[in-house]
Each structure stands twice: as C-alpha cells, then as structure tokens.
C-alpha cells in the first residue's frame, strides 16, 4: 500500500487555488444543477466563497502552516459564501486544518473534515448530499492512499445521487421528484476533492 500524503502549506495553498479555479469554471453548471432541485444559487455562492478563501490565503504570510492556510480559507468560506455550503465546507476545511497541524497526515485530515460535515449537517450516506461524494472518497483514501482512486470515488459517489431521493435541504420537500437529478453539493464535493488530488500531485511532481 502507498503511504498517506503529508500535505504542507504549499499543497494547501495550491488546493485552494485549484479549487477556486475549478469552481469558477463550473459555476454555471453547479447553479444549473441547483436550479433543478435546490434554490439555484450553489455555483454563484461557492464561487463567491472560494474567491474570498483564495484572497484570505494570499493575504497570509509565507510562514503560515498547512493548518493556518486551511483555517483562513475555511473562515472566509463561512463568512462569504451565503448558503449552506459555506458553513459545511468552511467547517470541513477548519477541521482538516486542525488535524493537519496535529498529525500532518492527509487520511486523518480527510476523516476530520468528513466528520465535521456530517456532524454539522446531520446527513448520512444516501441522503443525497455532499456526504454521498465525501464519505466514499475519504474511505477510498483511508484504504488505498491513492489520490486518483480517491478522486474517482468522489465522482462515482456524486453520480450515485442521481437515483437517490433527497432527505436534506430544499430538495427534500420534493420527495420522489428529487430523483433523477444530481445533487449539486455532491457535485461540488467531487470537484473540490479532484482539486485536492491535482494540488497534491502537482506540488509533489
């Protein structure tokens, strides 16, 4: 088995940059997904939050630790996103940051981030939320420490929300009519995990 990555501040900065770029590029697709079953603002909100997160990270000094980079990004996401994804992703990044400064290990940090999302939102796998992409990705990384396998697990998990009935958020009011649509939160989670994988790989290459 491969060894778990130990992301430094450079990897974390690259992750936030890559995530902001991918969210900006996919902003309209995420908003379109959200228009089908949510309130039609996910791409717009997350783009605003990620821009603020990137700015916060760029404003940090060069000596910031990996944990400090993720804490700053998380705080900005919470303050500026304006939708449920702000506290959820912001809380996840802050939990990951604390974990990285304690153990340095990506597997532990991913699990801490996933726990934070589950605790705050109260969602489980199968509820048609970001947890459907996040939990399988974290599990895949814990089992394989393979970044590509992890990103693929997030994508597959996000795609699995197509056939699910929503049990959280506005989509849950639609009952059976929420079936047949991708969950926008799961879609953006897959994108953020893909960004992390790209950042960890590129900085190491």
């Amino acid at each position: 088995m491969r060894e778990s990555v130990r992301p430094d501040a450079e990897v974390c900065r690259a992750w936030v940059r890559e995530a902001a770029a991918r969210v900006a590029a996919d902003r309209d697709r995420l908003t379109q997904l959200d228009s089908a079953i949510g309130d039609g603002d996910h791409g717009h909100n997350l783009d605003r939050g990620m821009r603020a997160a990137l700015q916060a990270v760029e404003d940090l000094g060069e000596t910031a630790t990996a944990g400090e980079v993720l804490a700053a990004a998380g705080k900005a996401l919470i303050a500026k996103t304006g939708g449920a994804s702000g506290p959820l992703y912001g809380g996840a990044l802050r939990a990951m940051g604390r974990s990285l400064d304690e153990s340095g290990d990506l597997a532990a940090a991913l699990r801490a981030g996933c726990d934070a999302v589950r605790k705050l939102g109260g969602a489980a796998v199968g509820d048609k939320t970001m947890v459907d992409a996040l939990e399988p990705a974290v599990k895949a990384y814990e089992e394989t420490c393979d970044l590509e396998v992890t990103a693929d697990a997030a994508t597959t998990g996000a795609e699995s929300t197509m056939t699910l009935r929503a049990r959280k958020g506005r989509a849950s009011y639609l009952g059976e009519r929420s079936v047949g649509h991708l969950d926008p939160g799961a879609a953006s989670t897959a994108l953020l995990i893909r960004a992390l994988v790209t950042a960890a790989r590129d900085v190491r290459a």
Partner: protein, 127 residues
Amino acid sequence: MTVGVVIVSHSRALAEGTAELARTLGLDRVRVEPAGGDSGGGLGTSAELVAGAVSRADSGDGVVLLADLGSAVLTVKTYLLDAPGTALFADAPLVEGAVAAASAAASGAGAEEVAAAAREAYAHRKG
C-alpha cells in the same frame, strides 16, 4: 436586563417582521435583533450579520438565536462553535418561537428557559 433574541432568516423582511412582532409581544422590554438575508440585502445568510445582531442583542444576560431553514441553521450552529459562552440556539418554529422567546425573556427568564419556551412553541397546534 433581559435575555436578548436574534432572528436569523434567509429574508431580511422576514427577519425584521418577525423581530418586530416578537419585540412588541415582549412588551418592548427585550432586545430582539434581526439578521436577515445576505450581506448585500438579497436572500441568503450572513455569518457577519449574525455576529452583529448577537452583539446588539446581548445586554449581558445571554442571547437566544432562532433560525428559519437550512443555511440559516448551519450558520448559527457554526457561529456558536466559536462564540464564547452565553449564546444559545433554539430549535423552534421561527415566528411562534420568537414570540415565545420574547415573552419568556420579558418575564425575566434566563437564557436556558427562554430557549426552552421557544422550543415548546412546536407543541402549540392551530387546529
């Protein structure tokens, strides 16, 4: 001195209207502060508006927060993770809970008791 109440809603108008109603039924003895909409005045939730409303509502006896839906609830819970001490989230229906909270606060109830009054508003049926 009374416990303060903060109303967090996706809509500025809804937060302000609910606060107005609760303030009146709290006999104008209670600080009821709205935190509605995003920072630009549109629909949404703003952690910064929540923090501002809590500091205005707090006269030193604690603050109870109510929220309408989804991101408003998550924003309040996230705010409370960082907030020192005296603020509480009440899982309650927004309008009925706000009126119950303000009424309890006006009678001199403590923060836990005010939050409990708001939660109990779920039990007040209308038909």
